[in-house]
């Protein structure tokens, strides 16, 4: 990896971490010490796994890129605050050991590691992943107050009413849901930062959410009207979080403008189809992983649509045979 590439990745990861700051702060605000401990456990696991991977591959782990912090925080923030520590550790360890190490422990992983970790947790322990505590209640131990998250309301076809949850509560994130993915205002702040720093990636996320919104308006799962359906679908689960942090990943999302928008739009369609017909309440991470898998196919698409030769440096195509580059 050249120095220039390293710097790009480092600055990209710094951006992502800055964007993660807002949801992490909100998680700490709502769930207090518990959230801090969960995030620390995740980051520590990620750190240990990367060090161990560096030893195993006889390469120095690239800790300065800070991606271990990003992976750990993402896994923790997409889980409910009531989750046990071993789940956070298992998810983060899976993310690093199975989605990052086999591809050379470098940044060039063909799948977003945190999404892979959460997908693993969702498949193995869906009961824990989708059991959200009520905000502000006791959320540790056996007898915590379980809340009804919007994603479970949607999958039950249960429409919202004003006395149950108000729109204001949805926007500030005072509803049962994933720790860091609920507060829409904080995520909007992150989105603005993304728009300023990397507007192409922002458009990818926007295309993802736009298709989700259109789908929700056309095929609402609740009977309370298209407008409410759009709001609920977008704000439930980890849809916005996934769009901002996973669909915009440096290596897996295509770089060109048209390609990026296509990638995002296709991802949104897959996410909504999985939500409507899939087995789980929230399938954003599965949509992300599926789109990661087809991402190399999109490399040649932009050329056909605009009719011009793509810039070679723009195409970041993952080559599994080449492996990761050694870190000096």
């Amino acid at each position: 990896m050249t120095d220039e590439n390293k710097n790009i990745i480092r600055s990209y990861n710094t951006d992502m971490l800055l964007m993660l700051f807002a949801p992490a702060a909100v998680a700490c605000f709502y769930y207090g010490e518990r959230a801090i401990r969960l995030m620390l456990a995740a980051v520590l696991t990620s750190f240990v796994c990367e060090l161990f991977g560096g030893l195993l591959l006889a390469r120095r782990a690239n800790l300065r890129s800070m991606s271990f912090v990003f992976n750990g925080l993402c896994v923790a923030l997409m889980l409910p605050a009531s989750v046990q520590y071993w789940m956070v550790i298992a998810g983060t360890a899976f993310a690093v050991v199975f989605a990052k190490l086999p591809f050379g422990n470098s940044e060039k992983s063909p799948f977003v590691p945190a999404a892979a970790g959460l997908a693993f947790l969702t498949i193995c322990w869906p009961d824990y992943v989708f059991r959200f505590p009520e905000v502000g209640s006791a959320y540790i131990g056996e007898g915590f107050v379980g809340g009804t998250s919007m994603s479970s309301m949607l999958s039950d076809g249960n429409s919202i009413n004003d006395s149950l949850v108000s729109l204001m509560e949805i926007f500030v994130g005072e509803i049962p849901g994933p720790m860091g993915a609920c507060c829409i205002i904080a995520l909007a702040g992150s989105a603005v930062y993304l728009l300023i720093r990397r507007w192409k990636k922002f458009l990818t996320a926007l295309a993802f959410l736009g298709v989700c919104a259109v789908y929700a308006a056309i095929f609402p799962r609740i009977s309370a009207g298209a407008q409410l359906s759009v709001i609920m679908e977008l704000c439930s689960g980890s849809l916005i979080f996934g769009a901002l942090f996973f669909m915009t990943d440096y290596y897996t999302s295509p770089d060109g403008l048209i390609k990026g928008i296509l990638y995002g739009a296709a991802g949104g369609l897959v996410a909504m189809l999985l939500r409507s017909f899939g087995a789980y309440e929230d399938s954003t991470v599965f949509a992300v992983l599926l789109m990661n898998a087809v991402s190399p196919l999109l490399a040649g698409v932009g050329k056909k649509i605009i009719g011009k030769q793509p810039d070679a440096s723009e195409d970041v195509i993952y080559d599994p045979l080449a492996g990761g580059e050694p870190v000096e």
């Binding site: 071993w86 789940m87 298992a90 199975f98 086999p102 693993f120 498949i123 193995c124 322990w125």
Partner: protein, 221 residues
């Protein structure tokens, strides 16, 4: 027509070679599907080993004795026929030995009749060698295959169901995902990476790629 050659390696060396540099699953990547679908517990893994071993042994011996006289196009079909003849009684026995596992397996069990590993071994080895050498080859392959199947079955049962041969052992939370096909692929992939790393360090000859194409070479029939 058929070349025969003496086994120049000792018996011990034949077995270690088959398990390491010629590992059917981890190096040559044949016979992977039954492991992914079937090796979800130690019991199923043992049954899988038994059935596959029987199919492989019967097919290789039959090829060495008789089938090599048949043309290529017929031979491939005959492997399948022989496989069915072996799998049919074996699956009836397996149904008594582990009825719950059989019910879960469904279509996988009859599909064991045709295994890419069997076709490869018969076409690449048994067809050109005398019975004695062929039996030794089949046994060493069975040894290598059984090792990896039992390993995968045990790991998946321990982590996925928290038991080992139906005895509750592991206090860890059960990761049911490992019982799904993707769990099998993950474990096989990691094991393959480890074995290749080990082989590349200790066996310099490992770098010579083995030809895994079973279509005919020039001048053969």
């Amino acid at each position: 027509m058929s070349r025969t050659y003496e086994n120049t390696l000792g018996i011990k060396r034949t077995f270690t070679d088959a398990a390491i540099i010629g590992n059917p699953v981890l190096i040559q990547a044949v016979g992977v599907f039954p492991i992914i679908a079937m090796a979800v517990s130690l019991k199923s893994a043992i049954a899988l080993c038994a059935i596959t071993s029987a199919v492989l042994l019967v097919c290789e011996v039959a090829t060495s004795l008789l089938l090599r006289r048949f043309p290529h196009w017929l031979r491939i079909g005959l492997y399948m026929l022989l496989g069915i003849l072996v799998v049919l009684p074996a699956s009836l026995f397996f149904e008594k030995f582990a009825p719950n596992e059989t019910a879960k397996l469904g279509i996988v069990l009859p599909l064991l009749a045709f295994n890419s590993m069997v076709a490869l071994r018969c076409e690449k080895f048994a067809r050109r060698n005398a019975v004695g050498t062929t039996v030794l080859n089949a046994l060493s392959t069975i040894f290598a295959y059984s090792l990896i199947v039992v390993f995968v079955g045990a790991v998946r049962e321990l982590l996925g169901s928290g038991t080992l041969y139906d005895i509750p052992l592991s206090p860890l939370p059960k990761a049911a995902g490992l019982l799904m096909p993707f769990g099998g692929l993950l474990i096989l992939g990691l094991a393959s990476a480890l074995l290749k790393w080990f082989a590349a360090r200790n066996y310099p000859s490992y770098a010579e790629k083995e030809d895994l194409n079973i279509s005919l070479e020039e001048g053969e029939k």
